[in-house]
């Protein structure tokens, strides 16, 4: 393993990250000068660490190996979370709370332990939203750019163009893709900000919520979240933007370049739309039958909450914890599903679900015709058997980690079964808001320290798609070749 290269890349990432930390630092200069230290110290620390790690010159030679790639991703994530917690820690929160908030932000989960947000300085709130935005950006970059180095098959799920091409020809395209994705991500944030401004938010509110939406995070800057505005227009904007943010970003480019019909030819996107509509209708009927809202209100509430959960953002428009159990169970299931791959969502993801559903159908057919050879295709592309195996194993591991985390939470957090299951599912899929104790994202503050640690690890595992982190724990990973 090329340790110099890994360290160099860590240093680079930390530098980029420090650049973004300058925003809240600048803000303190204008608003609240005696708080400069809260951001000044972390910036200094990360600059020093970055400088030490990079040590001036780029030792980049050839390609990253798989192991190096995994180490870069996981290590950078840990670095960033630790540096990102410093502003919270220096403000006076406990170590665990500060780390939790940082991890929750960078994993775009949106679970909060800070308590009363109205007491917090504005630059800290901005930093909170920024952690999500950066986390989301990192995820999109990493899983589109590093994934081909880690397992090229997985990339086929995102972009059909790369199928069968050699690594040399892949590289320039990737650089291009990265740029486009960065522009899209930033542009989309800007666009949402404008929309929210027009809908009546002030600039600070708009930019914070826009960052939270585009990264499917879920942090708000008010204790009562979107309820603070009490505006149907805002809720409608958030609803639509969350849905868009949960779709495959690469696909949007394709649709932009080659016509909107591509959007609806894509199997994953079709399933995304279909499941969202089906679940929303289920919930709407259930809400209406139980006299919670008028017909229109039921539909609006159902769609909002369904999209909020399936895109793993976790915003809440109403107190859905009071909804009937059937609706809550629907939302619980949606947490496992998650949105499309190639976006910032967590969960199992639509593309995997498509493959799993098709494979199961094929298995039933194979039971009838034992010698049948079945091909699994997605959007007219064949999925290689290796990838299918990987997906079924991922599914098993996902469920296993969920069970493990939920039972551990019930033990150390003294939680009821459903509450523990909700937290485990919400953290694993980076949703944030769950049920009962944590029905609002601020509820995480009431958990015990042990439960916070378990929740934090769960978010971490979920965000790194479990395998990335588990690979690091395998002794083979550290053996020299």
């Amino acid at each position: 393993m090329n340790k110099r290269l890994v360290m160099y890349l860590w240093g680079e990432i930390i530098f980029i990250f420090t650049g973004y930390m300058l925003f809240p630092l600048l803000m303190t200069l204008f608003t609240n000068e005696n708080r400069i230290a809260e951001f000044g110290i972390p910036v200094l620390i990360s600059v020093v660490i970055g400088a030490v790690l990079t040590r001036g010159k780029n030792p980049y030679k050839g390609r990253l190996s798989i192991r190096e790639g995994m180490l870069v991703i996981s290590g950078a994530f840990i670095f960033v979370c630790i540096i990102g917690m410093l502003p919270f820690w220096l403000t006076g929160f406990t170590f665990i709370d500060a780390l939790f908030e940082s991890v929750s932000g960078f994993t775009t989960t949106g679970a909060s332990v800070l308590g009363d947000l109205s007491l917090l300085p504005k630059e800290l709130l901005l930093w909170r939203s920024l952690t999500q935005w950066l986390g989301g950006l990192g995820i999109i970059m990493v899983f589109i750019t590093m994934v081909p180095q880690i397992g090229r098959e997985a990339l086929q799920l995102f972009t059909g163009e790369l199928h069968g091409e050699s690594a040399e020809r892949l590289l320039p395209r990737i650089t291009e893709t990265i740029k486009l994705l960065f522009y899209f991500y930033s542009g989309f944030t800007f666009f949402i900000t404008i929309l929210l401004l027009l809908a009546g938010m002030n600039f600070f509110e708009a930019i914070n919520h826009a960052m939270s939406i585009v990264s499917t995070g879920g942090f708000s800057i008010y204790n009562d979240g979107l309820g603070h505005f009490n505006s149907t227009t805002i809720n409608l904007i958030v609803l639509v933007c969350m849905f868009v943010a949960g779709g495959n970003h690469v696909l949007y480019f394709k649709a932009y370049r080659e016509g909107i019909s591509h959007l609806f030819k894509d199997t994953e996107f079709r399933l995304y739309v279909a499941l969202t509509v089906i679940f929303a209708i289920f919930i709407a009927i259930n809400l209406f039958n139980n006299n919670f809202y008028s017909a229109g209100g039921s539909i609006f509430n159902a769609f909002f909450q369904t999209i909020s959960i399936v895109s793993t953002a976790g915003f809440a428009m109403a107190n859905y914890d009071a909804w009937p159990d059937f609706s809550k169970y629907c939302l619980f299931l949606l947490m496992f599903i998650g949105g499309c791959s190639g976006s910032t969502v967590g969960g199992i993801k639509m593309s995997r679900l498509v493959v799993l559903l098709k494979v199961t159908g094929a298995e039933l057919k194979r039971t009838i015709h034992p010698r049948m050879v079945s091909n699994i295709t997605m959007t007219e592309r064949a999925i290689p058997p290796r990838l299918i195996d990987g997906i079924t194993r991922f599914f098993f591991l996902y469920i296993a980690v969920f069970f493990f985390s939920a039972s551990l939470l019930s033990l150390v957090g003294d939680l009821s079964m459903f509450s523990a299951a909700g937290i485990a599912a919400a953290c694993l899929a980076s949703v944030g808001a769950a049920f009962e104790t944590v029905a609002t994202i601020a509820g995480y503050g009431e958990l015990t320290a042990g439960a916070k640690i378990v929740a934090m690890l769960t978010m971490f595992l979920g965000r790194l798609e479990i395998f990335t982190l588990l690979v690091l724990l395998h002794p083979d990973f550290w053996k020299t070749e």
Partner: protein, 484 residues
């Protein structure tokens, strides 16, 4: 598909079912129970259905392929569940849906009951309940293959469609002899356990019923509060050990008989199974020791019994685990999903599948590190073929998906989330008692008829391991066969 042979076999089966109903009929006659009539009508009904089927069926062309095998097994379970429900319904013990529910719960060895006051029900009726467990445990069709006509080579398809586990492991080359061997072990265990329970102080009637229920990993008891009625550590110990035995692979016992007890330690699945029991007992024991205020021995007693009862998917209750801490309940729910060994009478995903899934996950991790590596999965030193491996991954997904879907249907009847999850987890893996409304000390009686139907489907799907029933809904299954 050759429907005639299917009809013929189902007819024979129906007659056999009539024969089985004669046992409680005779019992009711001697005891002077009120439900004599109900049994008599049921037996006549079963017999007439049997003769009608035999009349239209035809056994001349004994060529059973995979399709006929699946059709016979699925048909057999539906038919037998219907016939088995008749005594409950005709005697007025239960309404129609509940009667079907009780019968399916019996044959699938689930042990979920819709009867609220068990002690008020006639003894012959309770015996019928236990008998359905016992017949369903070994497998209706396996019993049939063992004792009824020689149906030729096609029996293998019927055997495979019913016997649990990812691979078919036959103890002897021929299916008929395998079935006979399995039945012998099954009967041997039943007799030994009944004798031990009698020695421990149960009445003759109770010990027969509980032996039937244990060895089939069913869970019907003759008392409302299950084994809490006896409150005897000795009885709980005997039943606990036999539950664990009943959850083991019967094919393994056969090879133990032939090759000696060393075989136990050559079998990965059995070792993992025992380890799971030990670990779960320790975790639950510690948890209830600290949280519930039980004494040391009491925590051990209850945790061992409850863990054995749930992992073997029996569902006897020695202490109301519904009031235990959430962590203990999580462990128990997890055990419900895992279930016991393949080739046993238990339900659930099965330990062997979990072992293979675990090995696959490790292999996947190593594969990520060394992308060109070829990984071989082996179990008990034998290579597991690729089709079996991919089948297991898909089975797991299907199991979870059906679990989620059925829970959704059950929740639509207004049940709470925890209750619906518990009820479906407990019935799809044929455990029985769940959490909350259908918990350890209550019954399924309060669930709506629609909810009961959903649970019936869950039980049948779980017992026949999903695919056997689900292939029936594929159009390919019904398309006429072409001979290549």
């Amino acid at each position: 598909m050759n429907l005639f042979i299917v009809l013929y076999l189902l007819g024979k089966l129906s007659l056999a079912c009539a024969g089985a109903i004669l046992v409680p009929l005779v019992m009711a006659f001697y005891m002077g129970d009120t439900c004599l009539e109900a049994f008599a009508i049921s037996a006549v009904l079963a017999m007439s259905i049997g003769y009608i089927f035999l009349h239209y069926g035809n056994s001349n062309d004994v060529h059973i392929t995979f399709r006929e095998g699946v059709a016979v097994v699925s048909g057999a379970w539906v038919l037998v569940s219907f016939l088995g429900a008749m005594p409950y319904y005709l005697s007025g013990t239960l309404d129609f849906i509940s009667a079907i529910f009780e019968s399916i719960s019996g044959f699938t060895t689930t042990g979920a009951t819709a009867i609220t006051n068990i002690e008020a029900v006639a003894k012959s009726m309770l015996f019928w309940r236990s008998l359905t467990h016992w017949m369903g445990g070994i497998g209706i069709v396996v019993l049939f293959i063992a004792f009824l006509p020689n149906i030729g080579t096609g029996a293998v398809h019927m055997f495979n469609a019913e016997v649990t586990g990812p691979t078919d492991d036959r103890v002897v080359p021929r299916i008929r002899e395998t079935s006979v061997a399995l039945c012998k072990i099954y009967i041997f265990f039943t007799v030994v356990q009944a004798a031990l329970l009698f020695w421990a102080g149960m009445s003759f009637y109770d010990c027969i019923n509980h032996a039937f229920s244990t060895i089939a990993t069913g869970g019907f008891s003759t008392y409302d509060n299950s084994l809490m009625h006896f409150n005897s550590p000795l009885i709980e110990g005997i039943i606990g050990v036999f539950m664990i035995l009943a959850g083991g692979n019967f094919a393994l016992y056969f090879s133990v008989v032939q090759k000696g007890p060393r075989e136990f330690w050559h079998d990965t699945e059995f070792k993992v199974y025992i380890c799971l029991v030990v670990i779960a007992t320790a975790l639950v024991g510690l948890n209830i020791f600290y949280k519930m205020g039980f004494s040391g021995t009491e925590s051990l007693r209850h945790s061992f019994f409850q863990v054995a009862s749930i992992i073997s998917t029996t569902g006897f209750v020695s202490n109301d685990f519904d009031v235990w801490p959430a962590f203990s309940k999580y462990i128990l729910v997890l055990l419900m999903f895992i279930g016991a060994c393949a080739g046993s009478t238990a339900g659930g995903i099965k330990v062997s599948r979990i072992v293979i899934l675990y090995k696959l996950t490790l292999a996947e991790i190593r594969h990520t590190i060394h992308p060109c590596m070829v990984t071989n999965i082996s179990m008990n030193g034998k290579h597991v073929p690729d089709t079996v491996i991919s089948g297991i991954g898909r089975f797991f997904f299907l199991y979870m998906m059906l679990f989620a879907g059925l829970t959704l249907l059950l929740a639509s009847t207004g049940l709470s989330v925890t209750d619906s999850i518990g009820a479906i987890a407990a019935t799809i893996s044929s455990v029985g008692p769940a959490l909350g409304v259908a918990g350890a000390t209550s019954t399924y009686a309060s669930i709506t008829p629609f909810g009961k139907t959903v649970i019936c489907i869950a039980m049948l799907l779980g017992r026949l391991e999903l695919f056997t029933l689900l292939v029936l809904i594929r159009p390919e299954f019904w398309r006429s066969t072409r001979n290549w």
